[in-house]
């Protein structure tokens, strides 16, 4: 099973992004030339073994592109991703899949409706040719128990399951080949609150039990604060702030992070609605603003913000990309 890893002995981060970028060439009309869309750029990040890193940001900020790159499904156009210190592009997809597994947002579309639960959960074992039929069956049952699925569902089909149960199947499928890293792309946003709580509790338990590392992508900051050790905030493909979750949540530095946190509606009826001074929506990523990408929406913008791209500043254990903290 899982080796009990002493973090001190393993200085290598489980996953590391070095200056990772991904550009898509977009064609907008029949006669126009292809334009570059920088979905992710200059992304630097480390995830240590056993940690939960949350990646947050608005839709269209490049979270999912990043997730695909972490899974090895999409090669980065610049920079490199290191998995256990090895560049991900030198490792075969099969090997990546043994170490990194995904859990997706929508458990209704991520499970094949024509396969039984047993077939779905055991698929990674089949693909990697692990074990005999009996061993696979045993392992499926073990993991079904682990994620809290009753054994009687083993021959059921996904349409016979509730949303929460389906997400448990997706989690069992991800864990059955004992990966080190699980990339969760909005794993609870399609679920009801009471079911969401079950799944979040399950993810917490599994993490402790199996010493898992999570890359957790979400737009729900309350969930992120509950689960994450580290937070990375993305805006228009750039990492604008990262640090310990407790620090970022108690003292956000970047104006965008502050606005995001202010927008969270906690169930406290006396507080009323927050005043958000962000103005316009996300700018067009095909023609991003000059200088700091955030300056047209920033309440604290300086004159230089529209001209110079800010550098990443290291304040304590925190990285911030903002002119205000020079």
């Amino acid at each position: 099973m899982y080796p009990n890893i002493e973090i001190e002995n393993h200085q290598l981060p489980a996953l590391e992004c070095r200056n990772v970028g991904r550009t898509f060439m977009i064609k907008r009309g029949i006669f126009s030339a292809r334009q570059p869309l920088k979905a992710v750029q200059e992304f630097n990040l480390k995830i240590n073994r056993g940690d939960v890193l949350a990646i947050v940001g608005e839709s269209g900020c490049g979270k999912t592109t990043l997730a695909k790159m972490l899974l090895g499904l999409l090669p980065p156009t610049t920079g490199e991703i290191l998995l256990d210190g090895e560049p991900i592009n030198t490792v075969s997809l099969n090997e990546i899949a043994k170490k990194v597994q995904p859990v997706f947002q929508d458990p209704y579309s991520s499970l094949n409706p024509r396969k039984t639960i047993e077939e779905i959960i055991s698929l990674p074992l089949t693909v990697h040719n692990i074990g005999t039929i009996q061993e696979r069956r045993d392992r499926v049952e073990k993991y079904m128990g682990l994620v809290g699925l009753p054994k009687r569902l083993i021959h059921s089909y996904p349409n016979q399951l509730s949303g929460g149960q389906r997400q448990r199947v997706a989690i069992a499928r991800a864990l059955i080949i004992e990966p080190q890293i699980v990339v969760c792309d909005e794993p609870t946003s399609a679920l009801d609150v009471s079911v969401q709580a079950h799944i979040l509790n399950l993810l917490q338990d599994l993490r402790k039990e199996l010493n898992l590392t999570y890359a957790f992508i979400s737009h729900d900051l309350a969930v992120v604060e509950h689960l994450a050790d580290w937070v990375a905030v993305m805006y228009l493909g750039r990492l604008i702030e990262s640090g310990k979750a407790s620090d970022v949540f108690s003292e956000p530095k970047h104006p965008y992070t502050r606005a995001l946190l202010d927008s969270v509606l906690t169930p406290e009826p006396n507080l009323g609605l927050p005043e958000i001074t962000l103005g316009k929506g996300l700018p067009n990523p095909l023609s991003p603003p000059s200088g700091c990408y955030f300056h047209p929406r920033c309440p604290d913008a300086l004159s230089e913000c529209s001209q110079n791209t800010p550098e990443i500043l290291d304040i304590g254990e925190r990285l911030v990309e903002c002119h205000l903290y020079k």
Partner: protein, 337 residues
């Protein structure tokens, strides 16, 4: 002075005939909304909150059967009027905002035409007045250069802008009531806060009643004057937002509130509260409490008869056999983590 009641519904039930029997989507629902007041209907998927809104608008699917003792909008009896009269009410006296603005706006017509159509269709005035009204409202919803926007198509706008257009559209005829069904679920957090702010201030300005349907307890807490918690087609708890969130009386409401992580209050890496089991199937006849299979305080009596609403005070009620002291006592032991 208490504002006059805009919508009054008494004992609304909606049954839907399906092959397996009769599905009781909504049972015995009573609600009212006053001018300038926000009523939030909150519940998980499948609890009947959307069916309730469709029932009020007479937009139910054909297989659904509506029974109600009373349904009155601004003194007009909705139960006795026909479809054509309903059609003239919709968009005029009752506006509706749906979850996904892209599917509720027509992609092949300009925004301006769609906004003006509502106005002209209901005989409020000609094209020129309609244009003026549209420009006025677009400014109200915080859109700069309204003239330009009016000649654009829905796909040229971002999600947040589209939802603002929808808000402007529902206000075209100055309705007495707006029903908003998950209006911000498809939006980002920053857009959500801004859109809700807008909806709130416009509703106060135009003195419109608002029924806000959502599953997001954060939205409910910040927006609602009064809250109705629904479970399996029934109202299980009603009250003002402060009452419901600070002193939840029904075990389901308590469970729901414990389920969500609250920044700064829920300890991270601790377990969240949860509600076991799943929502029961609503097909066929049912006796007793619908929540009993998931309730921690279930007793023999929960299996018998009809559980009626326990009135605590005017407008504050919960549907449970536990006395107020008992259920509150449980809450304190269980505790908000």
């Amino acid at each position: 002075m208490i504002a006059p009641i805009v919508l009054e519904v008494e004992n609304l039930s909606v049954d839907i005939a399906i092959p397996a029997g009769t599905l009781h989507a909504v049972s015995n629902l009573t609600l009212n909304v006053r001018e300038g007041e926000t009523l939030c209907i909150v519940g998980e998927s499948g609890c009947g909150k959307s069916i309730t809104s469709l029932a009020i608008m007479n937009l139910l699917p054909r297989k659904a059967k509506l029974v109600a003792d009373k349904m009155v909008l601004e003194g007009r009896d909705l139960l006795s009027i026909g479809e054509s009269e309903f059609a003239s009410l919709r968009g005029d006296r009752v506006g509706m905002i749906f979850q996904d603005p892209m599917t509720s706006l027509n992609p092949v017509f300009r925004i301006g035409d769609q906004l003006e159509e509502v106005y002209i269709q209901h005989g409020k005035g000609g094209r020129k007045e309609a244009r003026e009204r549209a420009e006025f409202l677009l400014e109200k919803v915080g859109i700069v250069a309204p003239n330009e926007r009016l000649s654009q198509y829905p796909h040229q706008l971002s999600g947040g802008l589209r939802q603002r257009m929808m808000i402007a559209m529902t206000l075209m005829c100055d309705p007495a009531l707006i029903i908003a069904d998950e209006p911000t679920t498809a939006l980002d957090v920053t857009m959500q806060a801004q859109t809700l702010n807008l909806l709130h201030s416009l509703q106060k300005e135009f003195n419109t009643g608002l029924i806000l349907i959502t599953h997001d307890l954060g939205v409910v807490a910040r927006m609602a004057d009064r809250v109705m918690v629904m479970y399996a087609g029934c109202a299980v708890e009603t009250g003002t937002a402060v009452e419901v969130f600070e002193k939840p009386s029904h075990p389901y409401t308590q469970g729901l509130i414990n389920c969500i992580p609250i920044p700064g209050r829920t300890k991270s890496s601790s377990q969240l509260g949860s509600i076991r089991g799943i929502v029961p199937a609503l097909v066929g006849d049912f006796e007793g409490c619908l929540f009993r299979n998931r309730c921690d305080y279930v007793s023999e009596n929960c299996y018998k008869g009809n559980i009626s609403l326990n009135e605590i005070s005017d407008g504050r009620a919960y549907r449970c056999l536990l006395s107020l002291e008992e259920s509150r006592g449980h809450l304190e032991i269980g505790g908000v983590a």
